[in-house]
Symmetry: C2
DNA sequence: CAGAGGTACTTGAGGTTGTCAAATATCCGG
DNA sequence: CCGGATATTTGACAACCTCAAGTACCTCTG
């Protein structure tokens, strides 16, 4: 009764499980916790973000963001700035130092793992096509 | 300069990021933390596991496992048992209650998300083939 | 067989992440 | 201007995580 799992999903699920540790590992290379890396990934330069929107992006309570931002700010990677339009809001901007870390980290994340590069060019193109169709939400 | 990311990896990476929250969400349905769900997943019935091997499977320090097991044991989902061969070792077994939670949870994890079921049969077969080739480590 | 060194687990200190409830400051509609 | 919403912070508390040290046990070696 349990052996009837959709084969594509079975394999994709295994892959997801196997790659679970990737982000934390890469974050650690930059002495960042997983959440901190996530913040740096979400906080695009030239695109400041209010703390509430960050809480939303992280999928956690707003009160949690306070401490996370505290620590990243203490390390000089991001900065709290008042929002001129609404004085309740604190807007987050990435500092030059943060931008450097972010760029290197994103490049590191962009490196395809061997599992991908080992695939033939045809398989890679097929895979990209299928994934694109999966992502296409009507 | 950074736009040259492997398209298949780009899409797969997006998928990984998007599915990041899946396991925690399903765990929460059973009032389990993500790590607790992971333990239940790893601890197959009929296949007791020493705490050290669990630490290895979770990729964390052995001292951390103590507390995690404490809480699962307090909830009656798993049990510590002495290992007859080596009295230093504590072997973990899943209880009947734990087995019930585990079964339901695995069934829940096995449900393919819409993104998969929406694919044509051909795409699903292609995808399974490609993923199988990815998983094939020589 | 005695003791040395290694292994499995626990304990304790300390930090990060997470929640919820309550406080503070600000905004907006009437 | 006032009352109700909204953004952030604070405080209390719990889970998870690491490292260092402790305890109990195993195993090898002389």
């Amino acid at each position: 009764m349990m052996g009837l799992m959709n084969p594509a999903w079975q394999l994709l699920n295994d892959l997801l499980m196997a790659q679970r540790a990737r982000m934390p590992a890469i974050a650690a290379e930059f002495e960042l916790s997983p959440v901190q890396a996530q913040v740096l990934r979400l906080l695009e330069p030239e695109r400041p973000m209010p703390m509430g929107r960050l809480a939303c992006g992280l999928g956690c309570d707003a009160s949690n963001v306070t401490g996370i931002v505290d620590r990243l700010e203490a390390r000089g990677l991001i900065e709290r700035r008042p929002a001129p339009a609404d004085r309740r809001v604190r807007v987050l901007v990435i500092t030059p130092a943060g931008r450097r870390v972010r760029t290197t980290m994103l490049a590191r994340l962009a490196e395809p793992p061997v599992e991908i590069t080992r695939l033939s060019r045809e398989d890679q193109e097929l895979l990209a096509g299928i994934l694109a169709r999966m992502a296409a939400a009507d």
